[in-house]
């Protein structure tokens, strides 16, 4: 007798609808050709391939999809979107899933998010990225203090990384430059908390 797995209890149609609404993509047209997976440069690091994730979204398998490592390892290169025969912007679906997972506090690969936060922290303070600051904050956050230490001699010799942060010059604009950027990020954070999601 054939063995059948009943997944009906795992299906959440509201999840499918939410992904469709947020990404603006009609995921129902995916017919599993696998083009997205074939072209994905990050596939070797995925626990579920992108075409499997698309199927999971169609079926409403929310936990299965939002708990993957794949949505964090996606490079946002859009090769999948470009090669989809049904013109689904698959990269937009992946980004929507990342947003949904983040907002619920499901972060399967924390080091990736720690890198983003380290980057954004420097933008909040200086209004512009500060590369060495991003590295230092990331090392602290992730406790990976040897990250890219092998690059330090070359990077310093060539002065690839500015030692001094390049903040927005305050006199250049009436809104005080870096502080205006800080205010944007503060408003974003307050609104997210007000709306009950993780900023």
């Amino acid at each position: 007798m054939n063995k059948v797995t009943d997944i009906s209890s795992l299906r959440d149609p509201a999840f499918t609808a939410a992904v469709q609404a947020d990404s603006g993509q009609d995921v129902t047209t995916c017919y599993q050709c696998g083009n997205c997976t074939a072209g994905c440069p990050a596939s070797f690091a995925y626990d579920r391939q992108v075409s499997q994730i698309m199927r999971g979204v169609q079926l409403g398998l929310k936990d299965e999809v939002l708990n993957t490592r794949s949505i964090w390892m996606c490079l946002s290169c859009s090769t999948c979107s470009l090669r989809c025969p049904n013109n689904i912007d698959v990269a937009a679906v992946m980004e929507t899933l990342r947003h949904m997972a983040r907002k619920e506090g499901r972060v399967t690969v924390p080091k990736v998010e720690k890198f983003w936060f380290s980057f954004l922290d420097t933008v909040r303070v200086f209004g512009r990225t500060y590369e060495i600051g991003t590295m230092a904050l990331y090392m602290l956050r992730s406790l990976r203090i040897f990250t890219d230490l092998d690059l330090a001699p070359e990077a310093l010799k060539k002065r690839k990384l500015g030692l001094i942060p390049h903040a927005i010059p305050r006199q250049d604009v009436p809104d005080d430059g870096a502080r205006a950027v800080g205010r944007i990020m503060q408003r974003y954070r307050q609104r997210a908390l007000r709306e009950g999601v993780r900023p």
């Binding site: 690091a45 490079l75 080091k111 890198f115 500060y130 060539k158 990384l161 927005i168 809104d175």
Partner: protein
């Protein structure tokens, strides 16, 4: 040709890891009578981290810049960085949706201008002013004898409808420019493959493996250099070249200059105005070969 002016958004890496891209961009535009007017008080576009966290946050960071440009009366903003370009263009397009605009305006000090300027790449900005023949007419030191490949990365041509850069898997603008400068430019099949982007720090195998594939092909095709237009691609393929080689169990010694650096050489700019000393894999061998080619030619 008379001088034309564009508003200019350098992007953060111009002040750090891609200072050589910035230097050579300004030198080349100067030689081509293209005046770059840096946006006063510009801020980071948020890059991948902002859009990965939230679309509206990313747009707000971008729109502050577009709004400054609008207030300066700019119609077109040039930027050298494909990632900045992608983010600024996405933001500009999304602002056409009233609900989205309202959500972004909530994050800004004041609502953004109704009409925001278009943004384009420095490469397309130059191409608008100079077709192939016009560029060749400006060449003082042709890149004769050099065998080059053009590498665009992911973002320059994708998404196709937004970036307006020709065939999204086979753009050819950089090839046309380098050919106009006298180089032999071969068709590089991985020209729009991903180098591993910003994963170099949190997940090294992602960049090492993807960059190694690109470098390996370039070396096997006998290229003298792989020419790029993106600060992050350049860092992954040049500064991180040894990491890529290690992951592939080999060694590479391939120069990865910016297209502006080679354009500058062809236009006769002094090498110290092109930031060549910032390249980890030196261009010295290539420069000698180009000189040899000129003598023979």
């Amino acid at each position: 040709m008379s001088v034309v002016s564009f508003a200019y958004y350098p992007g953060c890496s111009a002040k750090g890891s891609s200072a050589d891209y910035e230097r050579s961009t300004r030198t080349v535009c100067g030689l081509l009578d293209i005046c770059l007017e840096e946006l006063p008080g510009w801020n980071c576009c948020g890059s991948t981290p902002a859009h990965a966290v939230d679309t509206e946050l990313s747009a707000a960071l971008c729109v502050r810049n577009l709004d400054i440009a609008a207030q300066c009366g700019a119609k077109t903003v040039l930027t050298p960085c494909p990632s900045c370009l992608s983010n600024l263009r996405h933001a500009g397009r999304r602002m056409a949706t009233p609900e989205f605009r309202a959500r972004v305006n909530e994050l800004l000090d004041a609502p953004a201008a109704e009409t925001l300027p278009e943004v384009t790449s420095v490469m397309q900005g130059i191409a608008r002013q100079y077709d192939k023949a016009a560029l060749t007419a400006r060449v003082k030191k042709p890149l004769t004898g050099l065998r080059l490949g053009a590498y665009y990365g992911c973002l320059m041509s994708r998404p196709a409808d937004l970036m307006d850069f020709g065939d999204p898997e086979n753009p050819t603008l950089m090839e046309e420019m380098l050919t106009a400068c006298g180089a032999e430019v071969v068709d590089f099949p991985l020209k729009t493959s991903c180098c591993g982007a910003s994963f170099g720090i949190p997940e090294r195998p992602m960049t090492a493996r993807n960059s190694a594939k690109i470098l390996d092909l370039a070396v096997n095709m006998g290229l003298d250099a792989l020419v790029v237009a993106c600060p992050l691609c350049q860092m992954n393929l040049d500064l991180r070249q040894k990491q890529a080689a290690k992951s592939a169990g080999t060694t590479f010694d391939l120069p990865v200059p910016y297209f502006t650096q080679l354009l500058g050489l062809a236009l006769g700019a002094p090498t110290d105005q092109l930031g060549l000393d910032k390249l980890c894999v030196s261009l010295d061998g290539l420069l000698k070969k180009a000189e040899g080619g000129q003598q023979c030619g």
